[in-house]
Amino acid sequence: MASESRAVVAALQGRQFTFTSERAWAAYWAQALAGAAERGARLAVLSGSPGWDEVWEGPLAEAGQLARRYGLYLVADIGPQRDEDGRVFPCLHVFADDGSLVGAQRQIHLSREDRALMRSAGEELHVFDSPAGALGLVVGADAQVPEVSRALTLLGAEVLVHVGVLRERSEGAWLAQLWREVQANQMFGVEAYPVGTGLVGRSCVLAPVEMTPDGRGVLACAENADAEAVVAAELDFGARAALIARYDILAEMNLPLYRQQLLSLYRKESRP
């Protein structure tokens, strides 16, 4: 549940680099975070990863320091997690505005690239409370599997956060990512994409189409797909509650149908 009825959030669209150090990573993001803080953001989402394959949770301390310095919650890809068995998990981290680590969300469904890198899949979903609403993190390819966003919504998330990579310039390729999930679940969405060679920066803040003035479901979007940007917008949780009062997607789910038919299909398709 959002602790405030309105909150500004920001997607920070950065350039995809392989950083030379944690300090360099922090120095790069400081300016954009200052811009987000100036606009009153309570939550900032960083695009892209530090670019290191062999460093686990690299700039952990630096990310916390940035969150504290700018007084906002921070969602960032600071590199994958590694467990005691040596398995490597793509994930996103959440830092509170006092600099503490709130938690991490591992990616649940892997892409071909993830499998080629010998990544492992996470299991549990988490919802993180923040001053910008309850956050559900959609990591990488999880945006293509609607069960993830649906489960996060049913677990109480109010804002879906996605950090991914976009390589197609068409409007359809972009709408097929988090926008689709935001509409299906009557959620807010914050989506951060990096820019760079072969990458399309279309970072955005999303809402159900009924809540946006032009009916497109977009509260703010990067104007230039090739340039760094701070994309910020205000989320109105009261307006979202009013929308849900008019039609509540979750309340109208056909649970007997899902339990009887979809569940058995999931089980049938499950690998041994």
Binding site: P146, M253, L257, L262
Partner: protein, 350 residues
């Protein structure tokens, strides 16, 4: 006394509607109409031409007029080479409200609130048996005489237990019903119509591909398309009738377009349009596919306008779809879905 009077009025009105819904004139007209034959589908089911009818709704006071209109759209589709023709939701009900004596005056008197919902439920119960009989008769004739597969949108079907369901029908080129699909999720007007939700999703393996036909709002829910996809569907037929004076394209993108991006299939979205009894039906019929398969914005064809009749035609490459599915980068972990969604649904059901 009031209940007795209402019962008498109900039976009188139903008898009058039955009389107006007599099929002999429609039968005569359909027997005289022309029927160029549809091109049979490929034996290997690799390619297919489909047409979505953006049906301009108005009231028909006679089954013959209704049959003439449905024939005209099917003829256009067949002449355009369509092998599968898709009509919109409630094409077997809304236009046939014209069979109800004085319906326009009743609608003009209607006020919002519980009274209107009750009146709507009463009209639905009155009309549904006759309207569905006219509808089935019409589309069985059209599919058989043109030799074409018709996904004939939907009508209000009465069950043996007296329940009413918004049900989509598929008719084969021999005129027989190949399948049906009751709507499983409701929106807006339907809550006042006294309808019962459907409890299954079916996929029909036909000479024009593996078809599923959930109805309109069903596609707002990823679960519906997911069931169809896991059952092997290749084409999701989406009959719709949206009452939305503020329509824009992004409203509509939340439906089957979104679903085929996550459950890779082709989608055929047929909309009812026009103003009937104060209800502004809006939408742009479209034939869509996964962005990664069909390119661009995932749209093969789309109606130009949201408020006028139009035929939307496109070719589907089912062989390419099958190849696309084999090359998907993300393999959903169905075991994870079973564990987590299953547990959440269980908790919500308690």
């Amino acid at each position: 006394m009031s209940a007795w009077r209402d019962a008498v009025l109900f039976h009188v009105a139903r008898a009058l509607i039955r009389w107006r819904a007599g099929l002999s004139a429609a039968q005569g007209w359909l027997a005289r109409a022309s029927y160029p034959q549809a091109i049979p589908p490929d034996e290997d089911k690799a390619r297919l031409r489909v047409a979505a009818v953006q049906f301009p709704a108005r009231l028909f006071a006679s089954p013959a007029d209704y049959a003439r209109e449905c024939h005209a759209w099917t003829l256009r589709a067949v002449e355009a080479g369509a092998q599968l023709v898709v009509f919109p939701e409630l094409v077997g009900f809304v236009p046939l409200l014209g069979l109800v004596p004085g319906i326009e005056a009743q609608a003009a008197r209607a006020t919002s609130g519980a009274g209107e919902a009750g009146a709507l439920a009463a009209v639905t119960r009155l009309l549904a048996p006759s309207a569905t009989r006219v509808y089935r008769f019409t589309f069985q004739n059209l599919s058989r005489r043109f030799g074409v597969h018709i996904a004939a949108g939907s009508a209000i079907a009465a069950g043996r237990d007296g329940t009413l369901r918004n049900t989509a029908y598929l008719f084969g080129p021999d005129g027989f019903e190949m399948g049906h699909q009751p709507k499983a999720h409701f929106f807006g007007l339907e809550f006042g119509m006294g309808l019962t939700r459907g409890g299954f999703v079916q996929v029909y393996d036909t000479p024009v591909g593996k078809l599923a036909m959930p109805v309109c709002m069903d596609y707002t829910y990823p679960e519906t398309a997911r069931i169809a996809y896991l059952l092997g569907a290749e084409i999701l037929l989406n009959p719709s009738a949206d009452i939305n004076a503020d329509y824009n394209w992004h409203y509509q993108l939340r439906g089957v377009w979104s679903r085929v991006q996550e459950s890779p299939c082709y989608g055929v979205h047929a909309m009812m349009v026009g103003d009937v009894l104060g209800m502004p039906f809006r939408g742009q019929s479209a034939i869509v596919g996964p962005v990664g398969l069909v390119g661009g914005d995932g749209i093969l064809a789309r109606a130009d306008a949201c408020d006028g009749g139009e035929l939307v035609v496109a070719d589907l490459d089912l062989a390419a779809l099958r190849e696309f599915r084999r090359g998907l980068s993300v393999e959903p972990r169905w075991d994870w879905c079973a564990r987590h969604l299953g547990a959440i649904w269980e908790r919500r059901s308690l």
